[in-house]
Chain length 149, copies 2
Amino acid sequence: MKLSTKGRYGVKAMLDLAIHSAEGHIALKNIAERQDLSEHYLEQLIATLRKAGLVKSIRGAQGGYTLAHEPSEITVGEILRALEGSLAPVDCVLENEPADCVYSSKCVTKKIWMKIRDSINQVVDSITLQDLIDEYNELNKSEGYMYYI
Amino acid sequence: MKLSTKGRYGVKAMLDLAIHSAEGHIALKNIAERQDLSEHYLEQLIATLRKAGLVKSIRGAQGGYTLAHEPSEITVGEILRALEGSLAPVDCVLENEPADCVYSSKCVTKKIWMKIRDSINQVVDSITLQDLIDEYNELNKSEGYMYYI
DNA sequence: TTTAATTCCTACCTCATTACTCGGTTTTCA
DNA sequence: TGAAAACCGAGTAATGAGGTAGGAATTAAA
């Protein structure tokens, strides 16, 4: 039940973008350096995020990335699902195209997996990038930029 | 974010044991046949459950397994954590011995992983085997044993 | 108009884990 | 004493995770 680095790095990258959004579009190189991630690997992740419509890119020299929407309009759930796929703990309870099972809907344990899935979605869909920015700023205001992403 | 077969098979096996508890101790072979699982593989899983104190074994001919406690005293969370380890989505928020991270407690994203972890635990710890038995019996009472584990 | 910075794209690689199988040994009931 | 069962440790094939490598396309700036 672990999140892969895709999801974790993706949230970090998106929050980094959000926090530095005042600087306009931002080169992947800068995000990778600040967050200590492989630039080449991050490239693949942000390609996924771009195809999911969560970031916009500007090509060429001085190019870079920006969020496609306001931070308050982007949830952690959208980011995680774009990179990890469904957060369902078992394929028989995927939101779309659940894996078919001989036991179909007549299964008691399936209800457990649905509850887990729903509670995870409920948590991640209730957290927006703006919430994270606010928390980051609030904590750093009193502590002097000791907090990280 | 997928549960492995260990956790899924483990819950099935435990619920099978619970439902057939009136028959006394039950051979692994029977569980494996009813639930359509590899007997040899299940053997490894139930060894873990035994070491975790969730089932008791009786060796020799006519031996088998029984639940170590009442179904109402065994939660899905205990079963899953015994077989899967912590359900924390990221190692930095493991309940005991969280992986140390340079960003230690000064990390905004870490709070997301804690919320996910807590909500998963809250769900699985609130479901006991007795709850599953009751649901199984209730559904089958009206539908005539159409429901599965 | 060239150069450098940057995004975009496809392929490949290595390692750890998952989901088992295999072949026994030990224990105990009938 | 034989068969049925739990117990045990090793091996194995497939899969996915977490990258790396190398370049092509695009564009601002010199």
